[in-house]
Symmetry: C2
Subunit: 231 residues, 2 copies
Amino acid sequence: MLVNDLIRDLPLDEEATHAHTGAWVASVLRTKIAEGQLRPGTKLSEQALAQALGVSRNTLREAFTVLGNELIITRIPNRGVFVASPGINDVKEIYAVRRMIEPAALHWGPKLNVPALERIIKKARTALASGKIEAMATANQRFHEEVVRASGSAQLQELMTRVLAQMRLVFHAMSDAPDFHSHYVELNASLVDMLRDGEREQAATALRNYLDVAETELLSHLEERMDADGN
Amino acid sequence: MLVNDLIRDLPLDEEATHAHTGAWVASVLRTKIAEGQLRPGTKLSEQALAQALGVSRNTLREAFTVLGNELIITRIPNRGVFVASPGINDVKEIYAVRRMIEPAALHWGPKLNVPALERIIKKARTALASGKIEAMATANQRFHEEVVRASGSAQLQELMTRVLAQMRLVFHAMSDAPDFHSHYVELNASLVDMLRDGEREQAATALRNYLDVAETELLSHLEERMDADGN
DNA sequence: GACGTGAGATTGTTGAACAATCTTGGTTTT
DNA sequence: AAAACCAAGATTGTTCAACAATCTCACGTC
């Protein structure tokens, strides 16, 4: 029918700066938040931000709705929008997601790419050896993204990206945090060893244990910083 | 359904200044699409819809961005927005998600609630027995939502809700479809039997096989309707 | 020191406006 | 007659200005 013809050849563009100004603004804010230039809890004033970015308030609000869906900003009605500052419950939610989809991807994912995982491990190791903990942390993140890519699902991968973005916010909220990433590099490597041997189920359960440990470790640090407000 | 028809059965809602008008508009459209009153491929004209719903174009566009994130509408730049008409690739994506998170929830989910699943099975059986296939289909849907609820993750559950909404669109696009749901009621029941016995891993693999079968069955029906445009 | 209270600021929403792009229907060309 | 062309009209993308509703905060009252 007619409408189907129109939908069929959708270019699916993503760049083309003027395609969607709202999406452009969202991506700008997303990276500013991910890089820590906008700290958790910061208020994002509509008027000021719209002027600073050179867009109208309406367009900025469009960006806010997409960032709100990604849970990296918090909208309080008639109060404004703030960079999300994840708390204990948010961390539990993050790990609830990860404990499901990461082991499932390892165990059942149809697009498991062990060589790609090995490359990432190698990169993380050299970064760690040369003391570049920032590069090592991002390599670590890419490792988990690659794991979920094995699922073969774009929506799951997008969810994982969102969850990892929330994780970065957690770390930005705890600037006094110790190095949480370093000692996971070798754990990731051992997972890859199992996968190389075809022991996918074993790798999945190992990853579940690993995530349990990581969660409790993170939570204990969080709990001693926040006084039981639970959020 | 024409947008003019929307005007007719709307004024039931009072003018209770909705917390977020954009979200309210999104929910109205969401249910109209889920119920099949807005068929896949229908064009949603901004001007007409805004007038029909009694909101401004800007507010309507805010609703469009959230529905676009949920993949139940398709936005084509400078062309307009249409009710999504999922194709073969979309069905593959849907099942890629379900094959990951549903078995994972069954296998590992910390909040597995077997009695709740039993109640839903019972409801589906009575609906099937009395020939109410519509009620049976929604019970079936609730079964899978309850499965994912076992994950204990709000984000995964929301993703599942979105995916099931896309599934409904698939069925709405195939109005000539046979009854896909009926013969899954007993399969769901057998899953619950395994779970009642604590055989969670067995239930997980059974569900994976079940989803494989369902996907190929659906795809074969789709492929004979569409001529390999792949989308 | 606790408690209204009102002015000012901020958000939620609207309507109008304009450029850019698409659609349509008629016109020209082959 | 079929294909290419082209201008008028409609639709989308974006901005601006305005207003109501709500919140913030300093101020005065008890």
